[in-house]
Amino acid sequence: MAVRERVAAVTGAASGIGRATALGLSRQGARVALCDLNTSGLAGVAATIQGAGGQVRMVELDVSNQEQATKGIDSIVQAWGRLDVLVNAAGIASAGQTSRGPVLSISEPDWDRIMDVNLLGTVYCAQAAARHMMRQRSGRIVNIASIAGAIPRLNAAAYGVSKAGVRMFTKCLALELARYGVTVNAVAPGPTDTPMLGRDREGDEDPQLRERYITGTPEIFRLGVPLGKLGKPEDVASAILYLASDEAHHVTGVIFNVDGMAQLS
C-alpha cells in the first residue's frame, strides 16, 4: 500500500520529534491523527498540515491512562477505518522537583510520572493500536527510546530506566506481533535539539546546555557527540519514516540509534 493511503497516529505531536514525524508522514500523503493531552498545543501543527492540503485530525488523550489511550486510538479507526502506523513520541524528560536529581532523592510521585508517561504511555497506545493491526494483519509501530536507556547518566535514572523499559517493550511486542505481519521498532535518539533538551533541571532554558551535550561532560554523555552537532528532530523523523515504510517490512524488534555516535558501547 502506498504511503498516501495510510492512516497514521502520532502521540506527542505538538513539538520536537513528534511534530517533525507528523509533518513528514503528511508530506508522504498519510492521513495523520495528532494525539496529545492538550489539543490546543496541536493546533499549529494541524494548521501547517491542512495548509499544505493534508488530512489531519486531533485526538485528545492522556497516554498514561490505559482507558483514554484505548478510546483515543479506537476513535481514529472509527473515523478513518484503519490504522497503519503508530508513532509513540509522547515523552517527558523531567517531572516535579526530583526526577532529574540523584537517585537517592527521587520522590515516588516524580518517579511514577516519568514511568507513566514514557513507558506505560507507550505501552497503552501500542496495545490499542496492536489490536487493530493484528486484525488487519499489517501495521507499523515505532517507539521513541533513547541512548540514555542503554548507557547510564548521572541525575537521569528515572528517564533512563523508563527508556530502558521502552527498549524491552519494543522487543517483546515485536516478538508477539511478528506472526501477524506487524513490525515494532524503536529509534534511540542521542542529544537532539528539541525544547526538551535545552532546559536545565529546574525547567529553565539554559543556552550553555546544548554546547555541553556536543562536547561531552561527566554529567551528561562523557563522550559528547563524535559527529560534532546535535541531532535535529527531522533527523530522527527520517529514521522513523523509514521504519514506518513498506520498505522496512523485514525489520522488526530493532533499536535504531540516531545519535551521531554518542553511544559507543
Binding site: Q66, L104, W111, L120, P152, R167, M168, C172
Partner: protein, 264 residues
C-alpha cells in the same frame, strides 16, 4: 571468614535464590537480615542458618511499599548495625498472557514489586553505606532483561528496567566506593510462580522446565547448552562474589548465570 562482621540485608530471602544467598552469606560469616513478605518462609531460612551455626534474623516486610522499607532498614540497623551489603532479590512473576492484553493494574503492580522495591531499598540503605565509606548492592535481574520472550512481557520490561537502574545507580555511587551490580538468572528451579500467586499444575511446571532445558520456540530456542536448569545455589555464588572484597573494581555489571541460555 570473608564476611565476618558484615551485615547483609536480602529481600525475598524466604525462598529460592534469596534463601540460597542468605545461607551462603551466613556460611561465610555474615550476619544476615532475612527479609520476606511471608513470615513462615523467612523463619525457615533463619532456622536453617541457625542450625548450621550461622547468624540470621527474620524481618517480615512488603518491600513494594516505601514506609515498610524505611521501617525494615531501621530495624535491621538496630539489630545488626549498619548494612554493608544489600541484595535486592524480591520479585514476582505474572500469569502468562499476551503483552497486548495486560491491564493497567497489572503493569503498575509488576513495576511496583520488581522495580520500585529496589528504588526504595536503595534509598533507605545507601545513606548508611555512604556513612560507612562503602558498600555493595546486588540486584536480581534476569535473562529476561536482555532477551525478549513470549507472553511474559511485563516481567521482561521490569527486569530490563532493573538492569538499567543498576547501571545508573552504579554511576552515581561510584564516588562513594559503593558498587552496584546484578545477576541475571536463566531458568532456575524456584517457587517463583507459586509464591507470586500464579501456581501451575504439576504437569505444566514439568513441561515448562523440559521446554526451557531442551529449547522451545516460545521460550529459549536454544535451550540450555550446559544441559541442566539452574539451581538457586548457582545464583547465590554469583551474588556472594559480587558482594565480596575481591569484586571491588566491578560495578554496573550483570553476570548472566544461565548456562548460555541467553546467547540466542
Amino acid at each position: 571468614m570473608p564476611f565476618t562482621n558484615k551485615t547483609v540485608l536480602i529481600t525475598g530471602a524466604g525462598s529460592g535464590i534469596g534463601r540460597a544467598a542468605a545461607e551462603t552469606f551466613a556460611q561465610q560469616g555474615a550476619q544476615v537480615a532475612v527479609a520476606d513478605i511471608n513470615q513462615r518462609n523467612a523463619d525457615e531460612t533463619v532456622n536453617t542458618i541457625r542450625q548450621a551455626g550461622g547468624t540470621a534474623m527474620a524481618f517480615v516486610s512488603d518491600v513494594s511499599q516505601r514506609a515498610a522499607v524505611d521501617m525494615l532498614a531501621a530495624a535491621v540497623r538496630q539489630t545488626y548495625g549498619a548494612i554493608h551489603i544489600l541484595v535486592n532479590n524480591a520479585g514476582i512473576a505474572l500469569p502468562s498472557m499476551s503483552i497486548v492484553d495486560v491491564d493497567e493494574a497489572t503493569w503498575l503492580r509488576v513495576l511496583q514489586v520488581n522495580l520500585k522495591s529496589i528504588l526504595f531499598c536503595c534509598q533507605a540503605v545507601v545513606p548508611q553505606m555512604i556513612a560507612a565509606g562503602g558498600g555493595r548492592i546486588v540486584n536480581t535481574a534476569s535473562t529476561a532483561a536482555k532477551v525478549p520472550r513470549w507472553e511474559i512481557g511485563p516481567y521482561c520490561v521490569s527486569k530490563a528496567a532493573v538492569l538499567h537502574f543498576t547501571r545508573c545507580l552504579a554511576m552515581e555511587l561510584a564516588q562513594y566506593q559503593i558498587t552496584v551490580n546484578a545477576v541475571g538468572p536463566g531458568a532456575t528451579i524456584t517457587n517463583l510462580r507459586q509464591n507470586s500467586g500464579v501456581p501451575e499444575a504439576p504437569g505444566t511446571a514439568e513441561a515448562r522446565r523440559e521446554g526451557q532445558l531442551k529449547g522451545d520456540m516460545e521460550i529459549f530456542r536454544i535451550g540450555v547448552p550446559l544441559g541442566r536448569l539452574g539451581e538457586p545455589q548457582d545464583q547465590a555464588h554469583a551474588i556472594v562474589f559480587l558482594a565480596s572484597d575481591e569484586a571491588s573494581y566491578i560495578s554496573g555489571q550483570c553476570i548472566y548465570v544461565d548456562g548460555l541460555q541467553s546467547q540466542c
